[in-house]
Amino acid sequence: MAGVAETVESNGQGSFLDYKGKHKGIFAWILSTDHKRIGILYMVALLSWFLVGMTLGGLIRIELLTPEGTIVGPQTYNAFFTLHGVIMLFIFVIPGIPAVFGNFFLPIMIGAEDVAFPRLNLLSWYLYIIGGILIILAIFLPGGAPDTGWTFYIPYSVRTSTNMIITLSAVFILGFSSILTGLNFITTIHRLRAPGMDWFKMPLFSWGLYATGWIQVIVTPIIGITLLLVIVERVFGVGIFDPALGGDPILFQHLFWIYSHPAVYIMAVPSMGVISEIIPTFSHRTIFGYKFIAYSSLAIAVFGSLVWAHHMFAVGMSDSAEFIFSLLTFMVAIPSAIKVFNWTATLYKGSIQLDAPMLYALAFIFLFTIGGLTGIIQGALSVDIHLTDTYFIVGHIHYVVFGTAGFGIFAALHYWLPKMIGKMYNMKFAKVAFWIIFTGFNILYFPFFIMGWLGMPRRSYHYLPQFQVYHVISTVGSWIMIAGILMMFYNLLKSAINGPRITERNLWGGETLEWTVPTPPPLTNFDKIPDVINGPYEYKQNDIELEEVK
């Protein structure tokens, strides 16, 4: 708990991968408090779980090829979409970028040797693994996999005979892991910046992690207590949400979404931070509107905590609540839009280099724009009455969560993995895989908007025959996308196993601190803590003087 850790004399040290401490073999990894090893531990677990979640998604798509049953029964189908949501959200995308790339690169990018609480960091990872194990138990123990949807709505989450208590406990523990990561990063950024690294000399990725850390610390306890109440309800029948005993099921929804809406910003904001790193690097231009982007991360964190009931427009809330939350929902789009404008302006007159990280970053902007605009559509009350709980929402979700956070993770992998492990992947292959993923993604998800508009409900095992054509198109899109994703993973995995070694420090011409340390970085990151003079992204300015906010 207290910030005391031994550091070693670091002159002429090898990479952190070769470091030999007091533990041997696997223990050198699972007992290590080195933020870089922890980042890699997270990465392996996260990406493995992603493949599980992706498989579930693929199975859902196959089931939906026909309007009646195709490959599984309705109970299994309900479990599929529940697990798909729980795994993708709580195990993949919420830990996501902070756990992998935040852990690995935040200290380096601010000139520190590690995070503020390295042992707490390792504890975060243990809690993450335990949460994952509990989900596995929930799937395989008698009682069966949860079938309530990832939103666990009352009353079904109390009445279902499936393994809810284990599932809810898993999410509780995963939440605790998330809280500790956020707490660690906030303290790290406040206390461990290198001399000269002012707040406004920090890279924008750090700003993103800072805002995200606050969201993690502040809102996660709410889902903690809410799920705890459901467990108590199942065990003791207290009646907190039971109408027969005076409780209000809508209150559950309020509490659930008070966390789960800001949670989507835990997913999105770090990803935006990655894009803010990649765009300037691959445009060889300084970022446009640095302070706007920095402040917008904070604004998203604040406003994002005020819009939760837009998930509840059709449940019977008061008129004033509906109006207020719709208004706030429109407002929360503004800081995100500011980022999109700034990224685009950064590209202008830049010297664009279309390597794989940049392709994913540009795709991010495109997909996020679609996702964000459809979000605004849903924020309009009169429209949302028709769209809520339809496939339109599912389309929106996947464009923002997958297209944003997911593509952000893919972008970060292509940007930073070579730095992390000192091996290079095949760039041509990576680009081909990208295009296949991008094409498949849009074929898969765009029909969702059309279907939803036409009335196709979500989470529905049966559907009316007129929707089948869209479902078939989607499913074919899913096959294309999955093929591309497997190609992408194959490429990256192959590079890790026997790709060409690289020792070049600055792979892409980046201007942030991680590109000044060896590849892979040594144990303590720096031989000597740097004394920072310039800000990030200090590229040669182009001829046209664009208005810069200093």
Binding site: A2, I222, L229, V238, L255, K528, P530
Partner: protein
């Protein structure tokens, strides 16, 4: 990015302010965890005002007030234990830490008697007596058990933490020059106290 490198050799990283910062952040999560329960309480109290009034009548104000005084005093003793250690009075500090734990125990014992009395009267979740009451009454007791129960759990956690601090103090892991662990434990205990400061009027004093 150009950097000038200067010789900075830090072999042991110690940051007391950072440690306290991390502890405060953790306390916020505990505060908000209970905050969620206070949200539920305030909504249901708003919806069932009379029922809550009536249900609160059977709360034992004497035990509640005594327990409040006990926790407040235990906050004093843990705060004094830090002053004592800073004044290099190790035995006094240990004694005060121990007294804090004992106060926590007395609190829990009082709670135990209170709960058993309520259960004896049939006021427990799922009991026929409770279920025959109006909904607001049932919710009041449901919230009472959940909130004071979760609080009691945190009292136990706080006691265990302080007992660890006592061990560290004995073994000179905590010293007058390295006290941040004890300070952090104190912060945790004070938060447990603050939560009770709000629980007390909301359950015992709303008649």
């Amino acid at each position: 990015m150009s950097t000038h490198e200067q010789t900075v050799t830090t072999h042991v990283h110690r940051d007391d302010v950072g440690a306290r910062m991390g502890m405060w952040l953790f306390l916020f999560t505990e505060l908000i965890l209970f905050g969620g329960l206070f949200f539920v309480y305030s909504v249901y109290r708003f919806l069932h005002q009379t029922d809550f009034h009536v249900a609160a009548k059977s709360m034992n104000v004497f035990i509640g007030t005594t327990n409040t005084a006990i926790l407040l005093t235990s906050s004093l003793t843990i705060a004094l234990s830090i002053v004592a250690l800073r004044n290099r009075k190790k035995i006094l500090s240990l004694t005060l830490q121990g007294i804090t734990v004992i106060f926590g125990l007395i609190f829990l014992i009082n709670k135990y008697f209170e709960w058993t009395a309520e259960i004896h009267h049939g006021n427990y979740p799922g009991s026929p007596e409770l279920l025959s009451q109006p909904p607001g009454h049932i919710l009041f007791y449901g919230l009472y058990y959940v909130m004071t129960g979760l609080h009691g759990l945190h009292v136990i956690i706080g006691m265990i933490v302080i007992m660890f601090m006592m061990r560290f103090t004995i073994k000179d892991v905590i010293t007058p020059d390295r006290m941040v662990k004890l300070e952090a434990a104190g912060l945790y205990w004070h938060l447990v106290d603050i939560i009770w400061i709000f629980l007390f009027p909301l359950f015992y004093l709303i008649t």
